[in-house]
Symmetry: D2
Subunit: 313 residues, 4 copies
């Protein structure tokens, strides 16, 4: 089950692992359908002591793109609103701000289902041309996730499995490692879970600086069947999901988790999660499940949202 | 205890109800200090069936300012990212978007503690000049709420108390009505709660159109001692908190909940919540408490966040 | 020669009046090729007394869209730059601003050649798909007009021809009126000219308010052969060029000046020029030609520029 | 007259060279008052052959800040406007774009009179607090230059004076060099002129790369009396005006041309002009004067404008 998958196999996943039609031909939610009331109820039931851990980094308009991904973060303040609105100053005053950002990139962000396409199609067969410049993502907008993603979260800590602080750049996590981490941690990923897979990428960068070629540890495409079988509702890593350099020399397969995950599975992704404090907390408590609360923007037509997923133990 | 409070009394609240120094002289969190681990644990314990209800409206870039508050919502798409990034097209493709918005205004949004000042001071004595155009809110930024606001939510439905679908514009909710609603509903607001007070403003507007002078039901300044005594962590209404027209002729007192709440209590506010479906759900289940999950932007220096608070029952 | 042109005739203009290939198959400038050094020299030679008149309205971020065309104008100030940049205040200080705008719409603005397409083609046969979300207008960007549009300007004042302060909404200016105005004013439009045709639309709106159906005076499609024969380099009106309501019931022909002008002729357009003060000045001086100075943004990839054309007499 | 000026002398310029009150106590135009009709007429009279040269660089949203000055340049396209507006496609189509930029920084840009302050005051004694976040520059906005800056331009080429392709970084141009360049070129700077002083900074950077400490040739503060005596209306260099490193160790005097020029003289500045092609053209024609056409944004409240000054010979 290890070893990097063949290109044909990965391309085959697009059919084999597909969730198209599973929740109806007009479904907009993909794997969020797996977060049922029962799943949410059980997730709340995992809370023991109420400790909360943020899985997001700060967004800083004065350092908008620490990872170099073309991110925009702007924040322009308007001061002295009272005089501006009422033509006179008072004892009270107010401020507000314009915020401009491109969340896809450096921030901890959610990828909605319209973010990626394959052969011109998004999840569930919607056409990529349904994403329009004026109307935005007209079919698979993030605002459909209006109930948020409140579910059980599970952390699989792969560096801990190997007894190292972080995985080396280029390490491709395979499904055996996911299974071994489950075994070691005494937790089993199940339908509707938000799965966080820790690589230690950001811990490594903090200690050793950025990799010269931007290489990073990440998931092998071989984990896709695992994600589909377990019916994961949301996948997140401390990085961009995929291992870098890519496992395949085929240009089209350089981002297989994004392509197969978003397009075929309808699997929502969170890139660049902050998992180091989470891992420490899980380790201390020896508990690898938690209530995950992630509520994206409710903005019509977007394919992303800057998010702050919070874990409650 | 009813009747509109005297101006001197309201101004007195700024001292009398003050939380300045209560959590240390450098505290940035105000009433979010009340959301302890125990409070979060207990909140999770309110979940029975897992039903989730969004308390937010959609933000629509094509209709950004339905309430006429000067809101900006922009969404500009970038298509065909693969060709743009790699200089060649492939079988996969990606899109992203720039989003620009002013959340203070029409959207369902969180007011952070630096949003309002009185006599040049923000909550805890920080100076309003600590909000800078370049650095933003340097002391009381919303990003300090990194753990989110995950706590018990309580709805007090004042129209239901009176057996009407909505309160008339200009109806000032007084503390007696809050207490009567608690009694009627069999729920008691306690420390760390997120309190949602329903006026029915949006139901009324949907049925009858906007009020010509923008009048609306809202809280009387007389409710401020209640909010402080009960140690509410977050306050929200389906409107702008205060009753309109203002109870006081004094210009400085036209927004007493914002002024006393944000500045003196350090009380976080959510304006323009969607409470009608929440009220129906509470009524059906005859349960007025729920797990409230609200996670704002983790952006340095901002005084607002567009939010989608989600209630889980 | 009067009377509204038949639809087939207008569609025929796309071929008959075409400048495609006239200045080479890779030409990006269209009618700006007509502004030769000689034309510029002669234009400078029209200056007699040095009076300057602006042909633009102000853009106001606090009233961005007076004509209701979806215009965005944002201006966000950053104050106290010295402290922000150097970490300390000094005796000197500086401010700067972020400006965001959509020029197509209410402002006085230039339409570049990539703004309109017909059957998927822009001017000179470039494909409309050469306008990309990431790269912008890759072939016919406004920045190609790097030398500006400095040429002879000519005003034809049609209301003055008829002895009225403004034309009624729906008045379609035909080529006979253009010729009659030339005759009356003693001026002849020639190759390389910037032609300003006054309707009095804004004078009418100022006096009588906006037309309920947004009707306005404007050019008949029948003027297109005149524009081509005279080899006008730039066309501008105090409005949106075309008469409204449209002369044709054919959806595709509702904006014939834009379509035929931009796509077939490669004719640059300025919408919403301020021509009333210009007309008064011309009348006073009894001079209808002037040095026209219009320098658009030199920004790669745009199809518009907010402009302030200035006439020097 | 050479040698760097003493700090006290430069500070003295703020009084000694002041134009405050010269054109009335409410004057908003400063040295643009010097561009009279006669000046414009004479400027038009300098045109001989009609050659036009742009003095601006392109602004490129994909490389917005080549000089590293914090510039923002955004361009977001909206395609298929016809379908978006009318709900149906046609044979014609249109595009538009949102443009966002901070012109102060890398682009060729105009500094308006509210850009800099000294001891809390802008030009003519207006208070720097008259620049507001909501209203912008309420007194000295760039839109007051509605007639544009159409005047005689003069180039003084200092590297050519010294027979070198560019001045070395740190070279402070003194008034003797300006006078010597006038003599050599046979031109005399006079009232109302737009003066362009070439350093060769960009030619040097193109040949040798950016200076490690960002040092550059520029004007000595000692040139300020020259600028005032000659009554220059606009000053521009191929750089940021001042020599770098600064001539003075006094923090407050690191930008004397900006401070004394904008605040005391009311002198409009253009930073980062492209002067190399201009210099070649002047040399070829042995003519150092030209018609300068520069028309800034007519936007209320701004302190900057991206500009493309065009020289016509």
């Amino acid at each position: 089950m290890s070893g990097k998958p063949q290109d044909a196999e990965v391309i085959g996943y697009l059919q084999k692992l597909s969730n198209w039609g599973r929740w109806g031909h007009d479904d907009r939610l993909g794997t969020l359908n797996l977060v049922t009331d029962d799943v949410r109820r059980a997730a709340a039931g995992t809370v023991r002591d109420g400790t909360a851990v943020s899985l997001s980094f700060d967004m800083d308009p004065q350092n908008p793109d620490p990872l170099g991904h073309g991110t925009v973060i702007q924040r322009y303040m308007e001061l002295n609103e009272v005089e501006a609105l009422f033509g006179r100053a008072g004892r009270f005053d107010a401020v507000r701000e314009y915020v401009g950002l491109i969340a896809h990139g450096s921030p901890t962000h959610l990828d909605g289902l319209a973010h990626f396409s394959w052969d011109g199609k998004n999840y569930n067969g919607f056409d990529m041309s349904d994403v329009r410049t004026v109307g935005g993502a007209t079919k698979l907008s993030v605002h459909h996730a209006a109930q948020g993603i409140i579910t059980r979260g599970v952390l699989l800590d792969i560096p801990a499995l190997h007894g190292v602080p972080w995985l080396e750049p280029g390490h491709a996590i395979n499904p055996d490692e996911l299974a071994a981490a489950e075994e070691r941690q005494g937790v089993t990923v199940r339908a509707g879970d938000a799965l966080f897979v820790r690589t230690g990428n950001f811990a490594r960068t903090a200690a050793e600086g950025p990799h010269p070629d931007d290489h990073a540890a990440g998931l092998s495409a071989a984990t896709l069947p695992f994600l589909r079988e377990r019916d994961v509702a949301l996948l997140s890593t401390d990085g961009q999901q995929e291992v870098s350099p890519a496992e395949s020399a085929d240009f089209d397969l350089r981002m297989p988790i994004h392509v197969v995950g978003l397009v075929a599975l309808g699997l929502w992704l969170v890139d660049n999660a902050a998992l180091d404090e989470l891992a420490r907390t899980c380790q201390e408590k020896n508990r690898w499940e938690f209530l995950l609360s992630l509520v994206p923007w409710r903005m019509i037509g977007v394919t992303s949202s800057a998010v702050n997923p919070v874990a409650v133990f």
